[in-house]
Every structure is written in structure tokens, then in C-alpha cells.
């Protein structure tokens, strides 16, 4: 079981705790809350981060995202499967919703991380993989324009133009919908060749991504999850430098 926050009657002890000690304790609580899907624990700890005037971005990256990294390891080791990933993601979002409004531009290196348009292509109603990738962008501080699932191809083009997003991330869980990706890529690149396009989903391979003219890909639903979590890990490493 995850360690719970100390009950209120221990407040005196808590108040005497040093700032760094408190930070470590809250990061650990957030981390464990994500791993153990303890939404209340995450909510309480995220709120305390704000109440104590601690850094929200630090709490996201070294608490919530670090927890998600452990979830990724547990998934790699086949201890966790998709239900556990989804529950961990729910817990992460509880914390992220509280902390994100308090992340400053300075936290993000004085420039916004950018914008991404994401969705599953028309004919595909599977959006679990897409939602996990979306979480990765959310954690990293991107502004995410989520078009949802079963999205008509032109909608990706319109939304990219409307928002001037740097990235368009397309997901197709089924072979049968994957061909739609090629059309979207062509439509977007015709209008704006600088947009980076990421493909993800079970049937997408690196060859397909190359063939379709995409800039990046995630090999399978499982790999997309692993890759997304590894990207969070790399972001944390970069931030630590």
C-alpha cells in the first residue's frame, strides 16, 4: 500500500518540517499516489504543494511524472497492464489539473512549450493510446488541442491552421483506418511543410511512417505508452540538468 499523508493532528510535526524535507515528502506522496492509483492522496498532496508555496512544475515533473515513469517500468515488467495504466493516468490528471494553472513561463524555460493537435482518425473509435500520448504532452507543458476520436481528416488540417500548432499527432488503432493518415499528412504538409507530424497506433510501423511522410511514430499501442513514458523520463532528465 502507498504511504498516506500524515493526518491533520500531526500538523505540528508537519509545520516543523524543513521546506526541502516537506518537498521530498510531497513528491514521494504524489509519486506513490500515481503508482497506487490513489486519487484522493494525489489531490491532497497537490493542494498542499500550492498551500505550502512549493514549485508546481517540480511537483508535476518529479512527483506525478516520476510516478508515471515507475508505472511504465511496471508495465514493461508485465506487472501492470492497461487497466492499471488508465487508473494511474486518472490519478496523474487529478494532480495535474490542480498544479498546471500554477506553472509559470519561467518554469518552462521562458518560452511556452508549444501546441499540439491530437486525435484518432476517422473510422477509429479507439482512443486509449491517444489519451496516454495526450497525457505526455500535457505533462510536458504543451497546449493540447484534442479533437477526440473518429475525426474527419479535414478537421486535423483546419485545427492545425486555426491554432498554428507545431505538432499534429495522429493515432489509428486499426489497420483499416491507418490509410487515412497518409491523406492528412499530405494535406497538412501541402499547406504548412514545417508542421511536425507524429503517428501512433497498433498498425503503424516505421516503414509506414516513412512511406506516409511522417516525422515520428510510435510502434504499437503498448509501445506508444512506453515511448510516451520514456519521453517524460527524458524531459525530467533535461530539466534536472
Amino acid at each position: 500500500m502507498a504511504r498516506r499523508l500524515r493526518p491533520p493532528w500531526e500538523g505540528f510535526r508537519r509545520n516543523t518540517m524543513g521546506k526541502e524535507e516537506l518537498r521530498k515528502e510531497l513528491l514521494k506522496t504524489l509519486h506513490e499516489g500515481v503508482v497506487e492509483f490513489e486519487e484522493d492522496q494525489v489531490r491532497e498532496a497537490a493542494q498542499r504543494v500550492l498551500d505550502e508555496g512549493l514549485n508546481a512544475y517540480d511537483a508535476v515533473m518529479n512527483g506525478l511524472a516520476a510516478g508515471m515513469q515507475e508505472v511504465g517500468d511496471l508495465y514493461d515488467q508485465q506487472e501492470y497492464f492497461v487497466p492499471e495504466l488508465l487508473m494511474a493516468a486518472d490519478a496523474l490528471y487529478i494532480g495535474l489539473d490542480i498544479l498546471k494553472p500554477h506553472i509559470t513561463l519561467a518554469d518552462l524555460g521562458d518560452s511556452p512549450k508549444g501546441q499540439v493537435v491530437i486525435g484518432t482518425v476517422q473510422g477509429d473509435v479507439h482512443d486509449i493510446g491517444k489519451n496516454i500520448i495526450k497525457m505526455m504532452f500535457d505533462v510536458a507543458g504543451f497546449t493540447v488541442h484534442d479533437l477526440g476520436r473518429d475525426v474527419p481528416l479535414e478537421k486535423f488540417v483546419e485545427e492545425q491552421l486555426r491554432t498554428d500548432s507545431e505538432i499534429v499527432a495522429l493515432s489509428a488503432m486499426m489497420t483499416t483506418t491507418m490509410m487515412g493518415m497518409e491523406k492528412v499528412i499530405k494535406m497538412i504538409k501541402d499547406k504548412n511543410p514545417d508542421v511536425a507530424i507524429m503517428l501512433g497506433g497498433a498498425p503503424v510501423t516505421s516503414d509506414t511512417a516513412d512511406l506516409f511522410g511522417a516525422d515520428g511514430y510510435a510502434e504499437s499501442a503498448g509501445n506508444a505508452v512506453q515511448e510516451a513514458i520514456k519521453m517524460i523520463g527524458r524531459l525530467r532528465e533535461m530539466q534536472a540538468k
Binding site: 508485465q78 497492464f81 492497461v82 487497466p83 492499471e84 488508465l86 487508473m87 486518472d90 476517422q122 473510422g123 477509429d124 473509435v125 479507439h126 486509449i128 489519451n131 473518429d150 486499426m174 489497420t175 483499416t176 483506418t177 490509410m179 487515412g180 491523406k183 498498425p203 516503414d207 509506414t208 504499437s220 499501442a221 503498448g222
Partner: protein, 351 residues
């Protein structure tokens, strides 16, 4: 050597009687764009017409030499009959399979009729029944006709939001179990209905339950008991198909009471054969998209040969064939099954 009709070949295969050669068929969709174009129609038109469904299945079989046909092609007929709708994408370019547009958002919204047979008159269910009748009657029943129904968990994922179902397996176990019991009753009712219509084999596709999604422990406690109940209620021949990761659950799959297991390219069939023994009937396991759409035709034979060398009793694609196949790849696939499928396999002898 005695030559069998396609239906005799498939029936003999499932009866484990000696047959002339490996049958070439599938328990999932095998319709091709070449057949649809020959009929002068579009893929989106096929799903709502018994004539088009049956015609495209028969045309594909005859064009390439399949021993059997399977209808329908989409997974929305039952959800549609339960009022969840079906998006057919009639205006979209290219091939899009129908999807379910309005799943139940949560377990509270689930609304199943008490009399499950009432759904057989709803949506496109009568169209499918009629199509089965047409393919059965074609040339005095020359072709084997397969039926398929999604397994209880996968059917559940077509009717309710999948993430609700997946999270519910841990967070709301009792109610999800009750929902899966209802889904099991539904699957049995639909599969028995198709068996009464006279399909020659029944494939239960519990596609969404592989270990890409669920742990083996969860599979054992939440998937297996429902599949056991399904197979207990059905006549033979009946097949237990799961795509995705199956290596960790293959023995449990084989213990569910089906006559055969069907797996996709992620399964290590050499190991599966060792685990299940020579009597087990194994179907699989090539990647239909990679093999029939992407690959050079000259490489297809080796893929099919490997399936047979690894130990399958009949070569099945791991999923529906994507309709936009290359003609020459389809021909190479059928040719390779004929060529390499002459010898007896572990579970089925030859004349």
C-alpha cells in the same frame, strides 16, 4: 487423390478426418476490393445489403479460391440492434469499417432487452441472416459458411466505453462482472442464432482480451469463465480467436472448450504447439496487412510456409483481411497454402 468440395474440406478438417489438402479459409472477413470493384459497388454499400454482403463474399472466394466465406464484415451489427447505431461512412473516400457512434457512457446506462431474441429483427441483423442464407444456397452449398460473434469482453467494449470497462475491472469489479455476464448471455444468443441458421463453424472473437490489454490473472478470472460458458452453450465446430499477445494465456485459451484456438502473428506458434500438444487444433497466424498489402508478392510464400512449419493446422490471417490487398499477394497466399498444406498437420491427417 480424391478431391473434396470446399465445404467437405472444411467440415472434414473440423471433424479431424483425413482431408485432401489444407483448407484455405478464415473465421474473419476475407472480402477484397477486387471483388467489390468487380461487382461495381463501393465498400460502404456492402454492409446494409444481403445481396452485396453475400455477393462480395462469394465473389472473393471464387476469385481467389477460398474454401469458405464469412459474413458480416463489421462488428457493429449487434450494437446497432441494441440501439447504439452504426456509422457506415458512406461519404468517406476509401475503405472505412463501420463503427459504433453512441456507446453507453457508463454501466448505469446499460439497457438490455429481457428477450435477447428480440434483437434479431433490429438494425441489420435480418440483412446478415439473409446473407447467410444466400451464401449457404450458392451452388448447392459448395462453400463452407462461417459465422462469428465477438466474445463477451470485446462485445462489452463495443457497447460501453472501453476505458470504463477496463478501469471497472479493478475499480468496480462486481458491476463489471455482472455486465460481462449479460454480455455472455448476448454472445450465446447471437451465436446460437447463427448456428440455427446453419453456419458450418462458429468463431468467437475475444479480440480485445489479449495480454496487450489485460493481465493473465485478470484473463483467468474475468474472461475465461465467460468464454467457457459460451463454448459450453455452442455446438461444434467452434473456435476461440484472440489477436494480440496470447503466449501467456494460450493454455487457458485452449481450456475454454472450443475445438480450435486461433491466434495472430504475435503468438509464438512453435512454443504454443509444444505447450498444447499434437492433438490441439491451432489456426493462424500471419499478419494480413503486412503480408497481403505491404509485402512483395515474392515474399508471401515464405510467410505462409513458416506458419505451417511452426505448427498451425490451417493458415488463418490474424485478423480481417484488409480489403485493399494486392492481387498478386492474395494469389501467392492461396498458392502457398495449397503447396505447403499438402502434408498432414499435427491434428489433421490427409487422404
Amino acid at each position: 487423390m480424391t478431391t473434396m468440395t470446399p465445404k467437405e474440406r472444411v467440415k472434414g478438417f473440423f471433424n479431424r478426418e483425413p482431408i485432401d489438402r489444407m483448407p484455405c479459409f478464415s473465421g474473419m472477413g476475407t472480402v477484397t476490393i477486387q471483388a467489390i470493384e468487380k461487382m461495381g459497388i463501393r465498400f460502404a454499400q456492402v454492409h446494409g445489403s444481403a445481396e452485396y454482403l453475400a455477393g462480395s463474399a462469394i465473389t472473393t472466394a471464387e476469385m481467389f479460391g477460398f474454401d469458405g466465406v464469412v459474413v458480416p464484415y463489421d462488428m457493429c451489427t449487434v450494437p446497432e440492434a441494441l440501439g447504439r447505431g452504426a456509422s457506415l461512412y458512406e461519404d468517406a473516400d476509401g475503405i472505412l469499417y463501420p463503427t459504433v457512434p453512441s456507446k453507453w457512457a457508463n454501466l448505469d446506462e446499460v439497457d438490455m432487452p429481457e428477450d435477447l431474441s428480440s434483437i434479431f429483427g433490429q438494425g441489420r441483423m435480418p440483412v446478415v441472416d439473409e446473407a447467410i442464407g444466400i451464401v449457404k444456397a450458392h451452388e448447392n452449398g459448395k462453400l463452407a459458411v462461417g459465422g462469428w460473434v465477438l466474445g463477451p469482453f470485446t462485445m462489452g467494449g463495443q457497447l460501453i466505453e472501453l476505458d470504463v470497462l477496463l478501469k471497472g475491472l479493478r475499480k468496480d469489479k462486481e458491476r463489471v462482472e455482472a455486465f460481462l455476464t449479460k454480455m455472455t448471455d448476448l454472445v450465446i444468443a447471437v451465436a446460437q442464432h447463427y448456428q440455427k441458421l446453419g453456419v458450418d463453424f462458429m468463431n468467437i472473437r475475444e479480440m480485445g482480451s489479449g495480454t496487450d490489454l489485460l493481465s493473465p490473472r485478470m484473463w483467468k478470472t474475468l474472461i475465461k469463465p465467460n468464454l467457457e460458458r459460451v463454448f459450453d452453450a455452442l455446438d461444434s465446430p467452434k473456435i476461440n480467436h484472440i489477436c494480440g499477445g496470447t503466449d501467456l494465456i494460450i493454455e487457458m485459451m485452449n481450456d475454454c472448450g472450443a475445438d480450435a484456438v486461433s491466434v495472430d502473428q504475435k503468438n509464438n506458434v512453435v512454443e504454443t504447439r509444444k505447450k498444447l500438444g499434437n492433438d490441439a487444433m491451432i489456426l493462424g497466424n500471419f499478419d494480413p496487412y503486412g503480408t497481403l498489402v505491404q509485402m512483395d508478392a515474392s515474399d508471401v510464400g515464405a510467410v505462409i510456409k513458416k506458419c505451417i512449419d511452426d505448427g498451425v493446422d490451417a493458415v488463418w490471417p490474424g485478423c480481417d483481411i484488409w480489403p485493399d490487398v494486392k492481387m498478386e499477394n492474395m494469389e501467392a497466399y492461396i498458392q502457398a497454402v495449397r503447396e505447403y498444406g499438402k502434408a498432414a498437420t499435427s491434428a489433421v491427417g490427409r487422404l
